[in-house]
Symmetry: C2
């Protein structure tokens, strides 16, 4: 039996402001028309059935990810979810997946892959996975190594040693494993020709990785054992939260004596930050990547990602500009790692620009805050056909709804009626109400909220299609 474990719990800070904590990098369309996570799943089409795929993510993200995956094709509801009470980096996440699969079969092959990398050549990727499975079955931890083209200091490096005997294709024993070297060291690695970037994709037997965790991270092993014997989810939360934040690379791979590396060339990039798009996307004659509503005058080697608003750029060199409705990033490519400081500053100041977008995706559609002011808030709300919001009450605000397109079915107190484009209705404070789209096209309304308190948490849900009623 073969299983794929996709790690999808990351916050994707380095792709701020498009990536936000509640809608992180793996869920956004950085490359092409699908999110990185959806691409990661599609990349397995024809390789193995959906019920062999497990997604590890945080409880917080899991509902949005489930809805995010809808429409990807048949069998999506067969994908398993392994939920972390909180993010604790890849060693605990992979450990949690391992004990889950261990219950199914300790002999199962476990393929681990990130959800937010780029892999352009699916055919080559699947072929390398097949090779990896064959050698993992012989009792190795298998890594996939990317031939480096520059002395990148943000990656882990793998030094290949002897060739694996009896392998029809190139597979090497790993001699050395080194996370994030300094520039001079990275340069000597490139010069030597025997080093590969660690792609973060791994294959091993479930029983094998369990044993390696036991050897190298015994505290984690003990915690996982306890978790696997638990019934009570509160204790699970406590144990998991107490785990050290540590990556599988630092915690296990670097220390293992049992590693193989398969040199791979499937158009990989870890998309570490905005500057990494240069490796993957086509650039114009001047070396620019320009997407969206842009007027550029003579910029060079710059990446500008705009949305609706006009971005005018003049004479930029090696810059990144990324615009969203509520936050704009302007950075030199060289200093792009400063995004971390920006996000920390936002966090410290109790702001929201690193957490949520102005347009918030919901299972039933989305809403966009057009303006917030003293005692009022204006939203555009879009409901998918046949979707409905929860039956709800607000205790501090009334709402005016003006229908822009589609047809609204409104529950207001004991009344039920329909509202058409160019008509409106009014929901007084404390009146129970529900908005529904009974039609076949999206319903768009403008909602004007008035009240002493117009924040999202003023909501009491009486009935919900999406199981969001909190039970104490």
């Amino acid at each position: 039996m073969i299983y794929v474990v996709i790690l999808a719990g990351g916050k994707g800070t380095r792709f701020w402001p498009i990536s936000r904590e509640t809608w992180p990098k793996q869920m956004i369309n950085i490359l092409g028309e699908e999110s990185l996570l959806r691409q990661s799943i599609k990349r397995l089409d024809g390789f193995l059935p959906k019920d062999r795929i497990w997604i590890v993510t945080t409880e917080k993200l899991s509902q949005d990810i489930r809805f995010h995956l809808r429409g990807l094709g048949k069998g999506m509801d067969q994908i398993g979810f392994i939920l972390e009470p909180c993010g604790r980096n890849t060693a605990p996440a992979i450990g949690l997946a391992a004990i889950t699969l261990n219950k199914i079969s300790p002999d199962a092959i476990m393929i681990v892959m990130p959800s937010d990398h780029a892999i352009l050549d699916t055919k080559a990727f699947q072929e390398k996975l097949r090779l990896g499975i064959r050698v993992a079955e012989q009792g190795y931890l298998v890594t996939f190594g990317i031939k480096p083209n520059r002395p990148e200091t943000a990656y882990g490096y793998i030094r290949s040693g002897l060739t694996l005997e009896n392998s029809p294709e190139e597979v090497f024993h790993v001699e050395r494993f080194l996370e994030k070297p300094d520039l001079r060291t990275a340069e000597t690695f490139i010069a030597s020709g025997n080093y590969y970037w660690n792609s973060g994709i791994f294959i091993w037997k479930v029983s094998h990785i369990m044993k390696e965790i036991e050897n190298h991270l015994p505290w984690l092993y003990r915690g996982l054992k306890k978790i696997s014997e638990l019934k009570d989810s509160k204790v699970f939360d406590e144990i998991y939260s107490s785990f050290e934040n540590i990556s599988i690379d630092y915690g296990v791979i670097e220390k293992s004596q049992n590693l193989l590396v398969i040199p791979s060339d499937f158009g990989w990039s870890d998309l570490g930050n905005w500057a990494a798009l240069d490796d993957i996307l086509e650039r114009d004659k001047r070396g620019n990547i320009l997407q969206g509503n842009i007027i550029d005058i003579n910029s060079e080697n710059s990446t500008v990602i705009a949305s609706h608003r006009l971005i005018a750029t003049i004479g930029l060199k090696n810059m990144v500009v990324v615009d969203t409705p509520d936050a704009t990033l302007v950075s030199s490519k060289e200093k792009i790692h400063g995004i971390r400081e920006v996000v920390e500053t936002l966090n410290r100041s109790g702001r929201e620009e690193h957490l949520i977008h102005q347009t918030v995706e919901k299972p039933w559609g989305s809403y966009t805050v057009l303006e917030k002011g003293d005692r009022y808030k204006i939203k555009r709300v879009v409901l998918h056909p046949k979707a409905k919001l929860s039956l709800q009450i607000h205790h501090h605000r009334s709402e005016h709804w003006v229908v822009i397109s589609g047809t609204a079915r409104v529950v207001r107190g004991e009344e039920v009626f329909e509202v058409h484009p160019n008509e409106s209705t009014f929901i007084p404070i404390s009146m129970k109400h529900r908005l529904e789209n009974p039609g076949l096209i999206p319903l768009q309304i403008i909602e004007v909220q008035n009240g002493d308190y117009v924040k999202e948490d003023d909501i009491e849900r009486l009935d919900d299609d999406y199981q969001r009623i909190k039970k104490e």
Copy 2:
């Protein structure tokens, strides 16, 4: 008699995106809390009464400028307006002012000044004007020269010659006058020590400048003579529009034999573009000017002007970033003149970002377009206390009004009623209506427009407090 003529017809392209054609540079608060035009008028307080001030501007801008000047203090309604049918640069504009003043008194002294420059030292400025008046009365064209501190190639240079005899203070005859030299020439000017920047401020007798125009721009003189004898405004428009676009510097000053220069040090900058703020505004330790909602990480010598939206800047060097709700500029300081190309591109593409702001100032208040979509538009409308919109009809849209704050008096067909915060009303297509603020605090409403056509020109005004009813 002494008159001041303030030139206020410019488009201020170089301060885009904050400056827009309908609300240009002279009307915005680039320095401090008053617009440059309002500062230009205040700078004359105590120097001469308001009824000696004339503003030359285009017909298009004049109504907005009149309203823009309200609240500046007593006597504002005594400021005269001289209206150009269209912009034709400073030679025709000054000529038009000269023939206007010539009818009052050919012997009058005429002080000409731009409306969009910075002058930080009002006392020194007024003293230099008094000196200028004294020597202009002796029959000279008087210019004010600024000691240059760098080889700027965008300015005009004045080479001083012999000292004017019998003058108690430093006044020189002008030996040479040169517009916009190349860099090498500018450097030799600085080295020689006898060159001054042309501040664009002039003093002369009305009869004297008329004579100089007659000598150096005879076609303009003939046109102005015709205009001064006219009654019919249509012919005026035709003649004025036919004038060549030429500055007073190129057309008259450079050729005149009768020039004086008064060396001046009153904290002047022509605020030629965003990079010029460096000369005038205080910079932080790293040489940055940071205004508004900004998180900056390690930028240097950069100017960032933000508004509500967050602008995060990382590692910028010698950059300018200016954000507005519908357009953001990101430019190297060195290449900032490329703004001209941006504005030309907008113009060619039939776009609006160079013409109007998302918030449009009106005599009665303002409106902000929060969102435009297919068949709808959402606006926040703010009415000053006691203000009212015109009695009007829209033939292609209906309007929902939700009151956010203040009290609205609504005329709807034959009804008149009041709408309070948290209440709404609906104006069907083709129904005559009027919105008024009868109260003492601003009235804010959210207007949701629905219809096949939701542009501003679908308006038929039946009655208007602001004389905006078009007569054919």
